[in-house]
């Protein structure tokens, strides 16, 4: 179970990769493992403007559905249309081809409220010890 370096994370298992004034967003390896086989991803529309922490989509497996929360406020400038025909990309490559959306970051200072890769890894370890998730 991989925690990719260089990304910022939320405790709800979303990640953001900053690229200048844009960011790419997806879900972590831990999340895709928990969900099991992803069958469908519901994404927002290009042009939608959402706030940090707002629900921007849903990930469905056969037996579960999870909301996904936006790590940083911004405008959606691209969505991963490959996920329509190949939702399994989320399982196969959660940090790569299984990305969800690209946003134009509205408020870069919000990044400091997110977890670093190490911080997220530590969070996962603590949760595992508690025995819960």
């Amino acid at each position: 179970m991989k925690v990719e370096q260089g990304l910022l994370y939320m405790e709800s298992h979303e990640w953001a990769r900053l690229e200048g004034d844009e960011a790419v967003v997806g879900i972590s390896d831990f999340a895709q493992e928990e969900l099991n086989d992803v069958v469908y991803v519901e994404l927002p529309e290009v042009g939608d403007v959402l706030a940090h922490g707002e629900v921007f989509g849903t990930v469905e497996s056969v037996k579960a559905a999870s909301d996904v929360y936006l790590p940083l406020s911004g405008e959606i400038i691209a969505v991963n249309t490959d996920l329509e025909d190949s939702p399994q990309l989320v399982n196969e490559s959660p940090y790569g081809n299984g990305w969800f959306v690209r946003i134009r970051v509205a408020n870069p200072s919000e990044a400091k409220d997110l977890l670093s890769a190490d911080g997220y890894a530590k969070f996962l370890a603590e949760e595992a010890e508690k025995g819960g998730h």
């Binding site: 069958v39 469908y40 519901e42 469905e60 497996s61 056969v62 037996k63 579960a64 559905a65 909301d67």
Partner: protein, 446 residues
């Protein structure tokens, strides 16, 4: 007898195993002062006595095997081939549960998959669900779906005044907690052009019924384009028998097609159980409520069927589900499938043609009665409107003496149509019966 097979010995052995002395010991968590309340139900009857009593009760009704039926208005007398009830009376079908365990439910699953396919064929749409409770709730669910498709941003529904009155009422009940506005049915003068002019950027959908409640065919040409140009959805409510003859709404660009499936092989049963069919476009399937059967393969590569896209439904989405529907009308859907398969491509068209010709003949005959005027101008199917010289309820009372259940009193729902009767004639009405009806109307009107 409660179908409880336990002998005294069984009971004793089981109580011993559980570790109790008496049955009451099982209910210690029930507050003592409330335990074993008195019930005042009638004394139990044996099957023989009960069937006699129920038969007598049922014979207090004027039923449609013994009375001629010219009443429609959303529930229809069509001929049900004997093979239909024989098949759905097989207890492997009716005593089974929802097919969650697919390996031992392929009968139900394949039966419903075939039903879904046939509804798509009939309506011209891409995908159909496994049923809603009835046509009325299917319309209500269509509105909720349209609301969700608009991502809850649009608040207005435009609806034809000639969508069945009870469907409109049900839709209002369903949406009372959602702060939506439903307009269009305030006036009987709101025809399609008027309704289209009400469709704007805040409209989630336009709902049109065809044949409408008055039996008239609505011209859907160009309607979908106008509705789509405002970013709204077109919901069409259709009579399934009429679709044996007429262009399916899917061909006219409808986004959602719903209706009452009772005419497809289901007895009228005093209005229920019924069958709400619901079909939509492929790209909207994730917003559609209701169960869905999909095709897949088993561990040995053989074709099989499962309930699928379940993450839309209440047992997974819970408060985020678009609908709370769980139990549906599965057996009625299977019944409809058997009926559609029995009649098939040729037969359903013939039934529809018979309905068309019989109802037109009835209109012709009634139109010739002095004092009666057929008001329907547009093309119609199965039903038409007659202006009567006396109140409809008086006519219907008199018609009973002639062994006839007369048409629907439109004045109940439309003040403009006082003394107007909605007359229905299906393939089950013979020429003799139609003429007898016309004769009776003339006599009773005096």
């Amino acid at each position: 007898m409660p179908y409880v097979p336990h002998s005294d010995a069984d009971r004793a052995a089981m109580m011993k195993a559980v570790g109790i002395q008496k049955m009451d010991d099982l209910f210690q968590d029930v507050p003592a002062h409330l335990r074993y309340p008195k019930m005042d139900l009638p004394e139990p009857l044996s099957e023989m006595e009960l069937m006699a009593e129920l038969t007598a009760m049922s014979e207090r009704n004027a039923d449609l095997k013994h009375f001629m039926c010219f009443l429609g208005a959303g529930a229809y007398c069509h001929y049900i081939p004997s093979v239909v009830d024989q098949i759905v009376s097989r207890s492997e079908f009716y005593t089974a549960y929802t097919p969650y365990q697919a390996e031992i439910s392929q009968g139900t699953l394949q039966g419903i998959f075939e039903y879904q396919s046939m509804i798509c064929a009939l309506t011209g749409m891409d995908v159909a669900n496994a049923s809603h409770y009835d046509g009325a709730t299917a319309v209500a669910e269509a509105v909720v779906m349209a609301h969700n498709v608009s991502r809850k941003k649009r608040r207005k529904v435009v609806v034809s005044p000639f969508l069945h009155p009870e469907y409109r009422a049900t839709t209002r009940t369903y949406t009372q907690g959602l702060e939506l506005t439903i307009v269009g049915d305030e006036s009987v003068r709101n025809d399609l052009p008027a309704l289209l002019s009400m469709v704007d950027e805040d409209t989630m959908c336009l709902i049109v019924q065809t044949p409408n409640f008055l039996g008239e065919l609505e011209d859907l040409r160009g309607v979908a384009d106008r509705v789509h140009s405002k970013g709204a959805l077109l919901v069409v409510v259709a009579d399934p028998i009429s679709l044996g003859l007429f262009q399916p709404p899917g061909e006219h660009g409808a986004d959602i097609v719903v209706g009452e499936g009772q005419p497809l092989g289901n007895a009228i049963n005093f209005g229920g159980p019924s069958l709400g069919f619901f079909a939509t476009r492929e790209n909207l399937v994730h917003k559609m409520a209701g169960r869905l059967v999909g095709q897949t393969v088993d561990a040995e590569g053989r074709r099989g069927f499962v309930l699928t896209l379940s993450a839309r439904e209440q047992h997974i989405r819970r408060e985020k589900a678009t609908s709370n529907i769980c139990s549906n009308e599965a057996l009625n859907a299977l019944t409809a499938a058997v009926y559609m398969a029995a009649l098939g491509k040729c037969g359903l068209r013939r039934v529809a043609e018979l309905c068309y010709h019989k109802s037109h003949y009835a209109a012709h005959r009634i139109g010739r009665i002095p004092g009666f005027q057929v008001m329907t101008q547009k093309s119609f199917f199965k039903e038409f409107v007659v202006k009567c010289p006396v109140p409809v309820s008086d006519l219907n009372d008199g018609l009973l003496e002639w062994g006839i259940i007369g048409g629907y009193d439109l004045g109940r729902d439309y003040p403009e149509f006082t003394n107007h009767m909605l007359v229905c004639a299906t393939e089950t009405c013979t020429r003799e019966e139609i003429e007898y009806f016309a004769e009776a109307l003339q006599e009773v009107a005096g």
